[in-house]
Symmetry: C3
Subunit: 269 residues, 3 copies
């Protein structure tokens, strides 16, 4: 990163302490909806240092020509980014009774990580645990997700807290808190996308520091989570073309977080 952040040498950024890759916290997870092979390479030129995970959303992996998919996966991994198919695709495989085939195929294609979710399907706790263990046994890192995609399916917070504990015990490295693409009416966000602070604090208290990844598609949501947890909060479901803007937010290079840095300095003075 010497060359990368050459401005650093003349200007200290307002929010200090942003971690560099490879890192255990301050992770940015990007959701890809189907960038073309040339677009993804071009995008990596600027974005690779700021992205830790990339998800090929829901079942979109199923719609690529095999060679294009393999090349795209390799490209992303070679830039130091963990890459995985969306959790919905794994749920479909479970529903069809094809988990082993699904994991084997994912390994062959080059995926380095597996997401285990129950966003749509009801999955027994024992099945979930075995799925995590099986994927880990095959060499994948595992991310799990808590929270339902449809408000009608939503579970009490206590059930999510149990799931987080069980998932980490079974071998998951990180747990994503679902917010969907919309960021509305889901776990820590209300119907207008506003933060439910109580739910957020209870979830944060239940998991070891740095293990939760908060999905936060909207800039205001990202800003609030950075204000609460600092520049090294883990954030997910970031659209590819918002990564640089988010990184600016993390480092205080954008009005919102720069403003807070000024205020904190005034309060200290």
């Amino acid at each position: 990163m010497e060359n990368q952040l050459f401005w650093d040498k003349i200007i200290d950024f307002p929010l200090e302490g942003r971690s560099e890759k490879p890192r255990q916290s301050g992770l940015t997870m990007v959701i890809d909806k189907g960038m073309g092979p040339a677009a993804v390479k071009d995008w990596l030129t600027l974005n690779a240092p700021f992205v830790d995970y990339m998800k090929f959303s829901f079942g979109t992996s199923a719609l690529y020509p095999e060679d294009v998919l393999c090349e795209k996966i390799a490209c992303v991994r070679n830039s130091g980014i963990d890459v995985y198919p969306g959790g919905t695709f794994l749920e479909i495989a479970l529903w069809r009774g094809k988990l082993d085939e699904y994991l084997r195929r994912s390994l062959d294609l080059g995926y380095s990580c597996i997401e285990v979710s129950d966003g749509t399907l009801d999955i027994e706790a024992s099945t979930r645990r075995e799925t995590i263990e099986k994927a880990r046994g095959m060499g994948f890192s595992v991310i799990t997700e808590v929270g339902q995609k449809d408000a009608r399916d939503s579970k009490p917070l206590s059930a999510l807290l149990d799931q987080i504990r069980d998932d980490l015990r079974a071998g998951a490295s990180k747990v994503i808190v679902e917010a969907r693409e919309s960021g509305k009416s889901v776990v820590i966000f209300d119907g207008e996308g506003k933060l439910r602070r109580d739910e957020m604090e209870q979830l944060a208290a239940a998991a070891p520091e740095g293990t939760l990844i908060w999905e936060a598609p909207d800039k205001k949501q990202q800003h609030q989570l950075i204000e609460r947890f600092g520049p090294n909060v883990n954030l997910g479901n970031i659209p590819p073309d918002e990564v640089i803007a988010l990184e600016s937010l993390r480092r205080g290079l954008r009005g919102d977080t720069f403003r807070s840095a000024i205020q904190r300095k005034k309060e200290r003075a």
Copy 2:
């Protein structure tokens, strides 16, 4: 498509029966706002199998260098996609009394299809019919559009039903139901973008199956139309970077339609 959907061999998709190209129904029409020549080629790598029509929106064709426009048109057509300039541009040509020049130029540029609309201009029924017939006579396929761009101009539903019948009789292959880029306050969508089911059912009943293309820019709208008409409903005004997501929705690879597939299976059991 053997190689394309290689996952098919191990996992049946939740929504079955999705048609493959070339197809008469299940069409996806994309609205292009000016992708660059390299971007469009890269985009076709993944998206060509899932797109049937591409519109260069409103009068944007007028803003390209001629060689870039010709190359882009050729690229898209060579991927088995019908391509046409936006209906507004034809309305301008009619308004200026330059229809013949407009059609001749469109043919020279390589366009394979013409959209006949009255989204902005008042056009006599006889002029509309003659325009369709003239374009057909020159070898274009013709798509017409019903519904006004400005809520102040909107016509009663019965007038749209007459137009659909007349357009098909004059030689149009498909009729698009206008929803604008916003998907609000227009024909089958109310001021908040919600479906007006009555209007939709009356339109659907009036046209032979597969002849209507519903503009539906929003994911929720696409979902509702797929729920009602199945995976092979014709959908239009899809942004280029939403095609893969829509195709996932059509095949039940996304939470929303996967959820319905699960419920239907439960109900049958």
Copy 3:
């Protein structure tokens, strides 16, 4: 532009009198959030004739590898577009007491223009004036911005009018009226993004014609400003992939402005 607008020869555009580059009014300013080096070249193929200024938003310049940044700046400048780092970045430099280093580095990187704003930081009028003069002295063109990013910081309109007068006197070529990325609750737009006509008229009256650039991220806002000031109004904060659509709007090639052109013609008849 002979070859560019070859359609012109057969169809006069509904809104006439659109200026061509290089121009003093009718400017389009684009906000870049981090297009990759290949994407920006491809984008210029179609968009260069319609763009006058490009801003690398807030502090994003700080996140590029130096060689990629220089190449991107050179590319954009070679297409006849003035390019500058976001105003927030200059505010950070001022806050850190590093203005001279900031300007020197910006010059070395190839930036041709500097934005002087107080969107986040409180800046003394004298500091603002000296900053403008210093940048001008080093050969930059200078754009200033009036209006605060956070509604809590907003100033009375009279203060903005004074600032505009002072900025132009100190050597600024253009003054941007802040609307943020959202276009809501800021200077000429209310909480729903609707135009506050009184404020707009007072600002317009205070500045020599063609010196204000209105930030207007939303299509409806662009439309209203074109209706009021004509096709050659200066507009800013345009997303890169909306430039062609905006140019269509300026020339009456889109439903909204085409409709007005028809009505005016009817009224004259």
